[in-house]
Symmetry: none
Subunit: 200 residues, 4 copies
């Protein structure tokens, strides 16, 4: 009988939207993802619960938006990997920066929450990958292609797989905390992987 009713996004309150995203980030940092509740977000944001349910289907979804907003504030148009001509140096610098980001408390809590949710919830996972992860990975593809053309990498190699050799190990250590995630580790991974990627 009563249709689900899609809300009118032109009437949306930007004020409330920001307050919700900010509150979500704050709370996930303070209490962790498991204890993060929609009610707490609403209370902290000074917003009715319905205003959250009107625009997002789940708390994971709120957090994804909050994380994207966080990224946009920070990124400020950094849509390229450095290309100094020295592939090894460039990759080391990028992976070291990634290590720093993953170790930074601001990114850590929401990123873990989203990654964990994505592991278990395919739909959210797909969004996380397409909105957050894949754009990053494409930068590697581009940089590796450039290296192949410049003769710094074996042209027979699939850059997609090469990139996973670089990123996979970092992700592995970060997600399950098997061993500490350091600059030295990033360097070691780059060195080892490049021995496989280098022209024969």
């Amino acid at each position: 009988m009563t249709t689900p009713r899609t809300p009118d996004s032109t009437r949306r309150s930007e004020r409330s939207r920001r307050a919700i995203l900010d509150a979500a980030l704050e709370l996930v940092g303070e209490t962790g993802y498991q204890k993060l509740t929609i009610e707490a977000i609403a209370a902290r944001a000074g917003v009715g619960k319905q205003t959250i349910y009107r625009w997002w289907p789940s708390k994971a979804s709120v957090l994804l938006d909050a994380f994207l907003a966080l990224g946009e504030d920070a990124a400020q148009g950094e849509y390229e990997l450095p290309d100094t001509g020295d592939l090894e140096a460039d990759l080391k610098s990028v992976l070291r920066a990634t290590v720093d980001e993953l170790n930074s408390p601001v990114y850590d809590a929401p990123a873990r929450a989203l990654a964990a949710e994505g592991v278990v919830n395919a739909e959210l996972g797909a969004q996380f990958v397409s909105l957050v992860l894949e754009p990053q990975l494409q930068l590697y593809v581009k940089r590796l292609r450039a290296a192949q053309e410049a003769g710094g990498a074996d042209p027979g190699i699939d850059p997609r797989i090469a990139l996973e050799l670089l990123v996979g190990p970092l992700a592995h250590r970060w997600m399950l905390r098997t061993l500490p995630l350091t600059h030295e580790y990033a360097d070691a991974v780059v060195e080892l992987a490049l021995r496989g990627i280098a022209p024969r």
Copy 2:
């Protein structure tokens, strides 16, 4: 005034323990981890809730035990990686088997649940690593050391890092479902990683 009392494990009902672990595995497969509840496990197992709370501190902990039991049934003493002398062939065979396991529905749901929980819950994550993951990884270390001694791998390389070059990419694809996890991918990862690991 009565002490918190630790339960007497000699009197523990093996019947109930099995029923609980089985129910947990069934339910995590049917409804997913988020919707898995202690009450549902108790009901399915025909057991009082207290019997679960008496022996486990959380649902993640129940699931970890259930997953370990699942592994023990299957493993049957396979505590070695094959060593035919051909490192590449051996690794391909092992990683292909891992791919099959990760793609199998029986392992997938509980393994994802535990991995996700471990991402976000450091304590459970540590248990997962030490009980499930690390024993597996040590097999790689052992095999790689053997290869180094036999001259099939560069002795200057840290086997721990080498192994992560093999396992990290697989884990990455599995956890976030970026791209399909296939035998071909396993082969490609082994080939590329071995170019880095091989003696110079």
Copy 3:
């Protein structure tokens, strides 16, 4: 800075007013008073909620107006009780008509809703009494005074109390549905009450 603003009743939309009253009557019949909501009335009437809040302070108040409109349509100037000179016959005819009205589905739902609200909400109750009930009761007073003057009723009796002996029992059966409300009952009440009212 704008004053609370009293609405300008000359600009009021008669179209909306009727649609709201009609919708209120329809809905109270369909779903009952408890489930009657301002939002549903507005939706059914094709009217904004604010148009209701502008003109009425509560849903009970809307319903009171709707009920009054209903009465005006029906009454068409029947502002007298019949006076054939036979008090007993006149009262029986009036009370039988009242029984029919109370048993009619159209009047029943809104009348019950208002009566119930009036029981518990003194303000609305006072309005209900002064606008709906008291005018009716005054007709009885007038008819009984006429009978006293004509010698058909004891002049020593307070007509106000006499009337309540007639109306009270009907109201009692109707409100709490203790026993069926029939013409026979109306007749029996009139006969018994008149034995008390008659001249000695």
Copy 4:
């Protein structure tokens, strides 16, 4: 799938039951029936909401039980109307007592709430009548029958209707507050009604 599950009344907490009934009576007196909420009852009683929902289907139902408990405490086995041989005196004394009760703040709020709910909700109304009202009314029937046998009342009269002539007017004034409910009014009603009831 999941059966509605009827709770086991032998395990019921008497402590909680009393606390809930007491809280309901207190709150209905303080804030009125409309503003009475299950949540407030639970909070005041120091009880989980589910404990209310487990045992009662609605707030009206809680209040009915609370009112019955109130009655039981007060009544202490007064299961008879006085019979001094003087019908008029006995009825006046009883109706005066009823007037006092209806005017007492302790009874007023819950009684109004239940009466109002019963007007609009047939199911609750039937319970209210059979548990609260009808037992009272039967006492009148009994007393009137005794009077008929003793020659103090016309044996041709239906006691059920006679009683409604006594009780109906009181109820009418109480429910809609048309005019004040006083001892004088009770006396006047008895006198007038008895003129109809008396032997010819």
